[in-house]
Symmetry: C2
Subunit: 243 residues, 2 copies
């Protein structure tokens, strides 16, 4: 039996090289967009609409005043929006049944790129095992898509890619010949015992530290806090178990 294809794309700028119109794409932006999406569904939101621009987000609300707007640029909440990109907001507020419109620097942009030709699910360390198990149940190729930072490689998304790739490869169902996948696994093996320390000198942790959100980082680096898997249906994310 031929094995399923497994690839890691390390940057949105490289996505076209890995896109094959058939893989399930797992979009990851560990700090913090996709972590926040996963925990948002855990806290009971009904749906989330990821958009690429602040203007699109505002347009959604102009026709849907009940929608909650979340916007982040360069790590901070955008002025005039209900909140930014922090998972903590969802833990501190009753979000049951809400619809969130979210735009972020990297994560929602990557979703926009991937959705054109691929089925898209949302990954983070918070739902690592749930994603792994679900993917193994599908007879499909997988492309793990790191959102990076403004098209640059970043460590935290690649760490997640390595963790997920390792789980998939351990099932013996996936081919492991993609160089980027192998590199991600090496990083995960090196970093997994203390993710916070491994990312100590990373560019984005430094960027966020200036904003005093170490607690967000700590939260986003926790493994298996939810079994929710956000999946894109058209332009809208819903929880897979609610489909």
């Amino acid at each position: 039996m031929s094995k399923r294809n497994l690839q890691v794309c390390m940057s949105p700028a490289l996505f076209d090289l890995y896109a094959d119109r058939k893989s399930i794409v797992v979009v990851v932006d560990v700090l913090r967009a996709t972590s926040t999406m996963c925990i948002a569904f855990e806290t009971g939101i009904e749906k989330m609409i990821p958009v690429s621009t602040v203007e699109e987000a505002l347009e959604y609300r102009s026709t849907n005043p009940d929608y909650v707007l979340a916007a982040e640029r360069n790590g901070a909440a955008v002025r005039g929006f209900d909140f930014g990109n922090s998972p903590q907001y969802y833990l501190d507020h009753d979000m049951s049944g809400k619809t969130i419109v979210m735009t972020t620097t990297n994560g929602t942009k990557s979703i926009g790129i991937a959705k054109k030709d691929h089925e898209v699910i949302i990954g983070s360390l918070l739902n690592l095992d749930a994603i792994s198990k679900w993917l193994i149940q599908q007879d499909r190729d997988v492309l793990i898509f790191c959102a990076g930072w403004k098209d640059k490689f970043n460590l935290e998304d690649t760490l997640f890619a390595g963790a997920l790739a390792q789980n998939l490869v351990d099932s013996n169902l996936y081919d492991n010949s993609c160089d980027a996948t192998q590199a991600a696994q090496v990083l995960w093996e090196k970093g997994k015992d203390d993710l916070f320390a491994f990312l100590d000198n990373s560019s984005h942790r430094k960027r966020l530290a200036k904003l005093n959100i170490d607690s967000d980082i700590n939260f986003c680096l926790k493994i298996n806090q939810t079994t929710k898997i956000p999946i894109l249906k058209g332009d809208i994310l819903v929880a897979l178990d609610a489909c």
Copy 2:
């Protein structure tokens, strides 16, 4: 004293994100273009003209019949050219004083991209310590530029990037906050004791194995076989110690 900037660019498609018009760019294509360039100068060639296309190479010879033409595409020598991309050719023939015009799938393309706005030198495992020592002597920022494979990430070039980065960081003169640089160092640390085994499952080693050139791969993974550093002057590579 502020430290020198040190970056790794993992793909030609990402180069513009890392380019700063002031760093010395070290172009690397371990299998096999830049390894072959380094050993070509060790065997006594006078100069090498890296070009992006087969057509450019042919044009050079039409006006310079003494030039030797080397062309590789997808791992194999191009029909009608004197030879391809193998370091072995230089070891087996008397190349003293020759001028080589070379075009390859990834390496010469990357040189073409980098030379527009940056000083360019050529790196490989074969001249690792020579490059490291020379860079440390310069008071300049450094950008290690992996040629990759058709714009995709590859393992062997990133391994070299990690080796060179580690040597530079050990000098305590360079800032080590670039995520890609840190990742490359982790890969080098993991792979350095047995590079051939580390690359066992890599995409390009598999690609070359089909062409029966394991001996070339073995050669390109040897460390410190030459102190020659090819440097680009205008459009022409010469040996740094001959400048």
